[in-house]
Point group: C2
Chain length 256, copies 2
């Protein structure tokens, strides 16, 4: 069964795009056919994979708003087995343009049902809000991965996020399940990271992935070269952490 994983957290800068790019690349390197969909008008996942910004029609905007086929926009990347639905700045208008549309919450799900049969895993990179782009992702997804930065402010918005997931489960996507919570930017030199990790594990229990992503400058440098970290610096801690996460995502998925 195909897995569609929405990477969601309305808190900004917690590692959503970094996770979409590097988990996507790791899964592909392990032999999975992966599609990353960039649903953020900032298009960070697009540039993080080295893809230039496309025209409006050949992007997420074209698929969601103009109703174009997925195949008219999806491109391959430098990682074999990893494809991308690229974003562009036009998507910034989508939150408003979607509001009056018929079945506006279902447009991504329908586009994926029509055109994504060749992929085993689809990763949806969401913008830092709980608007219609993120709702489209939660409606299209089979599961949710929540990245949580190991810092105080990142704990605050969680109840709003869980409320949104519950609403989508009730009205749009009953099969949606929170499959995992990922601790990111963990800095072992500070007590703060450990304190936040303890809180998150107490609240989410066994939903928290064993794999923890450390704060590592190589993860922040790789996007500047348009590469996932496993191509930029295969020996870095960032590479190990995301490869371990990929293995864990695959194992957890087996019992679904």
């Amino acid at each position: 069964m195909r897995r569609t994983i929405a990477i969601v957290n309305q808190k900004g800068g917690v590692g959503k795009s970094t996770t979409a790019v590097n988990l996507g690349a790791s899964l592909a390197l392990l032999g999975t056919r992966v599609l990353v969909c960039d649903l953020d008008p900032q298009a960070n996942a697009t540039s993080g994979l080295g893809i230039p910004k496309p025209s409006a029609s050949a992007s997420t905007y074209g698929v969601l708003i103009e109703g174009r086929a997925l195949s008219a926009a999806v491109v391959s990347t430098a990682v074999s087995g990893l494809s991308l639905l690229p974003s562009s700045p036009h998507l910034a208008g989508a939150e408003v343009e979607l509001v009056p549309m018929l079945s506006r919450e279902l447009r991504l799900r329908e586009a994926l049902e029509r055109g994504a049969e060749g992929y085993e895993v689809i990763l949806l990179d969401c913008p830092p809000s709980l608007g219609l782009l993120t709702i489209n992702a939660l409606t299209a997804a089979t599961e949710v991965l929540i990245p949580i930065q190991c810092e105080y402010y990142a704990l605050e918005g969680l109840s709003q996020l869980l409320d949104s997931v519950t609403l989508v489960q009730r009205y749009l996507n009953p099969a949606l399940d929170i499959s995992g919570v990922l601790l990111t930017m963990f800095d072992a030199r500070t007590r703060l990271s450990e304190q936040v990790a303890v809180e998150v594990r107490r609240f989410f229990k066994d939903k928290v992935y064993e794999a923890v992503i450390p704060r590592s400058i190589r993860l922040a440098e790789a996007p500047g070269y348009g590469m996932p970290v496993m191509l930029f610096d295969p020996s870095s801690r960032g590479t190990d952490a995301y490869m371990n996460l990929a293995k864990e995502v695959m194992t957890r998925g087996r019992d679904r």
Copy 2:
């Protein structure tokens, strides 16, 4: 003349709330009467100043959506001279609730014109998006402060941000001016920070503040105690950097 400074960047996690809290506290400690308005449903500036989440009516939501007077929501903080218009999760609905309202872009400006006469500086902390909450801030503001994290992804959304500012200047607020660009989370140990800083200075020239905010764990720890960093750890680099920024903001403002 009262200065209203919108702290804006749709990129997430770049230090908007941290700047609102610590620049606000620094200005107040230097004798300025300051109001911080928390326009983010995540309410990070609210908890960063140690204020518990208010009821809907006694918050930004009450002022913007229910038309309540500012004085019915504003609270004082632990820093003498610093007041706060607190946020609450109800604000998450405001983006959609504002859409059909008459003069929806002007509601914050009107509320501040009616009720903020006692303040010399007003700081507006914005959510990570360019939606109606941020547009309300840009319409109410006399100037814009753009925090830019010294990392690659942070450079990407700048042209969208500048386009939004230009639109607001043309249709809603001709007097709006970009008064400054603030480099945040600068990590002197990495080449990446320096590379980004060079790019930002080349693009924004003398709009970039001399004060640069270093990446400092004390800045990330302080919100957990509900305090600005100058109360949490007065000897930290974060304190020095934001106090220097406050002095620079005051000096630059004099020639307006």
